[in-house]
Structure formats: C-alpha cells, structure tokens
Symmetry: C2
C-alpha cells in the first residue's frame, strides 16, 4: 500500500514513525528537501503542493492520499480525485474547514455551540458586530492562520482600522466574540470510511504567545464535561462523514463548551497519545484513511503531560544535554529532525507519564529546560 502525504513536517513524520510497523510505503510531498518526514522515507518528492501538475504526478505514484496540513487549496485536492485517487479527509471537508467562517457556519448549523461570529468585508462589519457583542473581539483571517498568526484581538473601536488593513493583506476576514474562557481544552476524534468513530480523552492545553506549550491529559474533567465533548466530537465527524483524525479545540467556560477551531489532521494536542494511549492518533489516522478497524483510544495511565520543545533562537539546530531526559523514567523524547531552529518553531516534544500529575508537569518543564536544541 503506497500512502501519499501532502506535507513533510513533524505531523507527517510521526504518522510514518507510528505506522512503519505495518510496512506500508509512505510517499511525502514537501516544499523542502530532507523534510522531517522526507528524512525517514525513500519516497520524498520536493515540490509545491499548490502546483497542480506536481500534485497530480505525485498522486500518480500513490494508492491513496492524505495530508498533514489544511493549507492546500481544496480545488487542487479535487483535481487529484478526478485522476481516480482518493483523498482523505475529502476535499469537501477540507474546504469547509480551511475557511474558518464556513467552518463556524457549518458547526453552528449542526447545533454545535460556538462563539458569536460574522464575516467581515469592510470596517463597518466590525463596528456593527461590536455594537451587538461588545469588546474584546477577535479579527481573524478566514484562511491560512495558525499559532496566533492571522489573529488580532480588538479592545476598542480605535483599533479596528489598523487591524483591518493589516490582516486584509492575508485575504478574507471574519470576526468573533472574545470568549473569556476558564480553560482551553481539546480532543482528537477519528472516523474511518465505514463510519466507525473513536474519541480520545479530552485534554487541557496551555498556550503561551498563542502557541501550545503544554498538553495535560488527566482526570480533572467530570463526566458531564467528558460526555459533552464526546458528543460534540462524534456529531461533527458524523455530520461531515469525515475520514481520518480531526483535532478539535474548545473553550471551557463554567459548564459550557464552545468549539473554537477544527483541524482536519492529526493535532499537536494529541502527540501525547504515542505513549499515553493504546493506539496513537497517528496510527489511527492511517487506519481510518485505509478503512481498517480503529485502535483503542483509551489512555494507558491516568496522567500524561506533553510539552512542546520550541526553538529559542534562530540558526542551526543541534541537540545537546539529552542525558537527563533519557535517564528519567517514563519521560519520552521526540525530535523532529529540523535542521534549522527558529524562535517559537516546534523542534520536538517530551511526553511524561506519572501517577502524580504535579510531578509530571514539573518533570516536563524541567526536562525541557535542561535540553539544548
């Protein structure tokens, strides 16, 4: 089975790492040579995934196509399907999700709770929205935003004009009511083509500078919350007839859950599942895409913490001082193989399993601080 992945970053890399035991052949289309994923397969194609000819030629080598990022024009994915090759998640789902306004509209129409939102074509759309919903509000690029890029929080009318001009250059806009949440939470849900669905446990995510720093899988959430998250996750992938793993970011405010964002791919909030679950999100994504039975998404231990290793400088990456992490029990190091580091760039992660949650969190931070990379 020749599986093509559009994108060669750490998500594609971990899909391959986790599925090599099944002896599939992984083909990677990446915009850089020796990408994190391309390093660990024989079949890396360097090329622009928005070039339809390159995409079609790449797809021609594969039996089936999946993707590790949602920034590929869905029309190009449809063009692949016209050559007779299946793409999962399907182009229609990618279209719905990659435009955050259409995404929210679709969720809202399905009865999924989301913050108030509106499309923005001109400055007056924002002022109108603010009259109904007050400040703060968030002005967002409808497409291509990630890790806080493409988002600006507005606290008063005087900030609108500048923010509008700045983000407008990135493309179409929308705005949303700011949610004064208690916690940010997330889950991963997986559905195979036959309709089997499994949901991973809900986790808490801690962001710093709009980038996920820590993911905490614990038993902190009561049954009413976990049931509600499950219900939302199942409803979303059922209604979309979605195939693959989807990451769902949510806000928790009291007992209320609002869906913030969907990611049509394996997700940073689920990296802990490699050691923390019986079957990782990466393996289950490929099982889903190939319509194989899904693996057990339950957790292997009550507490599991994942910390991102974010670049602290710009330049060549060189990992050092791994000794402490490697000699700490139940502490697992993952390095993505990126040759260049950049401030805030995701270079790897550490997962810690411990019966004592505070110990796990402390261990995650001290291990990450000890490393040089």
């Amino acid at each position: 089975m020749k599986i093509g992945i559009l994108g060669g970053g750490q998500l594609a890399r971990m899909i391959i790492e986790e599925c090599n035991k099944f002896a599939f052949e992984f083909y990677v289309l990446s915009n850089e040579k020796n990408s994190p994923a391309g390093q660990i397969t024989k079949f890396e194609t360097e090329g622009d995934w928005n070039d339809e000819n390159i995409l079609k030629e790449f797809a021609g080598k594969c039996d089936i196509i999946t993707l590790e990022n949602e920034f590929i024009d869905y029309k190009k994915l449809e063009a692949i399907e016209q050559t007779g090759k299946k793409v999962f998640p399907c182009p229609e789902n990618i279209m719905l999700i990659q435009d955050k306004y259409i995404q929210k509209k679709t969720l809202h129409a399905s009865g999924i709770p989301v913050a108030e939102f509106t499309p923005v074509n001109e400055v007056s759309d924002i002022t109108e929205f603010s009259k109904m919903n007050g400040y703060p509000l968030i002005l967002k690029s409808r497409t291509m935003g990630y890790d806080g890029k493409g988002n600006i929080t507005l606290n008063s009318e005087s900030e609108i004009e500048k923010a509008f001009r700045e983000l407008r250059e990135r493309g179409e806009l929308m705005c949303e009511k700011f949610v004064n949440f208690d916690k940010e939470i997330a889950t991963q849900v997986v559905r195979n083509t036959s309709g089997e669905i499994k949901v991973y446990p809900v986790v808490e995510t801690i962001q710093k500078n709009h980038i996920c720093e820590l993911v905490i899988s614990s038993s902190q959430f009561k049954k009413d919350i976990t049931d509600r998250v499950n219900e939302i996750a199942v409803r979303i992938v059922s209604d979309l007839k979605y195939t693959g793993v989807m990451g769902i970011e949510m806000f928790l405010r009291g007992k209320e859950i609002l869906v913030n964002e969907l990611a049509p791919r394996v997700h940073n909030s689920g990296h802990y599942t490699i050691e923390g679950s019986y079957t990782s999100q990466f393996e289950n994504h490929i099982r889903a895409v190939l319509d194989l039975p899904l693996g057990n998404t339950e957790k292997v231990s009550e507490n599991c913490v994942m910390i991102n290793l974010l670049g602290k400088r710009d330049g060549e990456s060189k990992i050092r001082r791994t000794g402490k992490v490697l000699s700490t029990q139940n502490t697992y190091l993952h390095i993505y193989g990126k040759k260049l580091t950049r401030t805030g760039r995701k270079m790897g992660h550490i997962t810690v399993i411990d019966k004592d949650l505070n110990k796990a969190i402390n261990n995650a931070y001290s291990s990450a601080n000890e490393l040089e990379f």
Copy 2:
C-alpha cells in the same frame, strides 16, 4: 548522528522504527535492494558486507557502526575500525561470539554454566566425546548456524560419519552434550560503553522445527531463577566489556541454568519489548552504542506474549485479513515488509498483552492463524 547498520533485515528495521523519534540518520548496508530496513531510510547501500572495499566505503558515510547479524567476518570489522570508525559490539566480541566453540570456551572460563562441549576436527573426536558424555549429543557448525541450520542431533555412533560429512562442508565443527531441559528461556541484556547495564525480564521461548514460535513474558519464574539469570547476564557483558544489546538463550533444568547461545545483537526473544517494556531492546541498543543513558527495561504488564508470523509457502507475500488482529485490544501487529515469503521465513510478529496469560497465548495463536500473508 549518522548510524550505520550492517544488515537490512527485520532487526535493523525495528531498530530504525524504534529510534526514528530521536531523528538520527540511519544508513543500512544490505545484500538486497529495498531490504526491510532499507525501505524505511533514505540511506540504503546495496552490497556485500564481506567485501572490504564496500564495507569501508559504507563506513565512511557513517559516524558509528553497529550490526544486526553476527555473520560478518570480524576481521572485516577490524578493518573498519582501522579507518577510525567505532564498531559496536566491538570486533573482538563478535569474534568470540561468532565462533560457537570460542564462545563456549569463553563462557566456561568466566564460570558461566554451559553443557559439556569439545572441538571436533575428525570423527574420532566425536566418538571420544560420546564415551565421556553419552548420547544424544549435538554436532554443530562453529559458525554461521541459525534456526537449527548447522546442527544435527546424534543418537548413536552409527549416525556420526554421515553427520560429520554433511556439516563439515559448512566449516569447522564442535559437539555438545544434549541438554534434557525443562524449558528454554532467554533474556536480553544491554550495556553501554560507560558500563551501565540493564537486563530485561527472563522469558520462556517455545521452538517449533528449531525456529522460535512463541515468546512468553510472565511471572512464572521464581526469584531464585530470575536472580540467577540476571547475575549470568550481567557477568557475561561485564567480562566482555560488551556494548549493545545481547540476546542470551538458556536451558532451564530443575533449578539449573545452562547458557546455550549468545547473540551479539537485538534478539527475536525481545521483540515483545516494543509494547511489553518501557524501553524496547531496539531503542536501548542504540542508546548503548551511542553511550547514552539506558532506558527502563521493566515490563509494563505482568504478561506479554509474542508470536512469530512464519511464512507458510513460497512466493510473493501479500498480507490479508488483518481486521481481526487490528480490532483486538492490546494486540499489536508488526509486518517486516519482505516482498517474498518462504516456508518458515520470519515475515512479522504479533504481540499480545493480557492480565490473563492463557488468554494472551490463545489470542496470539488465533490472531496469527487468522492472518494471511
């Protein structure tokens, strides 16, 4: 870090699978193109590892060399070392182990219990040995034997001549007293260059037609046995100043333990450690070779069973009917990517973890029987 592996079979493949998370670069020297390990790295060299020029050229690309089989002439490994590249396990250890007579002599000299043995140059050496030790006895090739190949059991004097002529063609011979064992047991021990040593739990191995069929990790062995196995394992690698994982096959007869054979590499009896231990033998082998701290070798669950998927016919391999295995909880499938199957060829394995040992064993057999490959 560029790590070279001599050999491209499933052992090299699983080393790479288990260590990709550290973003090392793996170079594979294999006598076939698209070998199981070569399929999952960009850096596969097709070539004969007994050709000194090919070996040296290959080593030139790597920072450090290890191996997945003991059938490489140790003198060729010394030639690599003369180019300034380290080889682990070191050529001297490989020399001691690859000649089974020298291996036994070394073990005996270290005070490790082994069955009576003698070198065989002519037929009369066997008759002399039989007078002292009786029948049955085993005539063995001193080198290049595996999975029963190169071994003949002799039950009477009349069988000596024919067996001697047959095995003599393979090279030098030795003979050993047949051990009427209760169980065959094994362990894996790992030592890094700095001298840190860890031992995996002792397992029972069930052979069929001289090939390992089942490996059972359970709590069946009392403390006196596990202590003794640990002591033997630590003694062997300490005395040899060995680097890497070593597989140790032993006979258990009452309370007596006799060492049967050493393997200077990761070992089939330790495949279960991927899911059954906190750190797999494959990861610990590379940690040892790079002189990193060793990972936890304790088991994650009381019972773990591994069954080899052995080819049942000759021809092209095509895996089918994986649904049952993939949908059975705590049952893990591994396929090695061999294009051709052969009767008795190791094509993959299944690991099962279960609180109930009998259930685990039954599940292993029924899962293996269900698969077509």
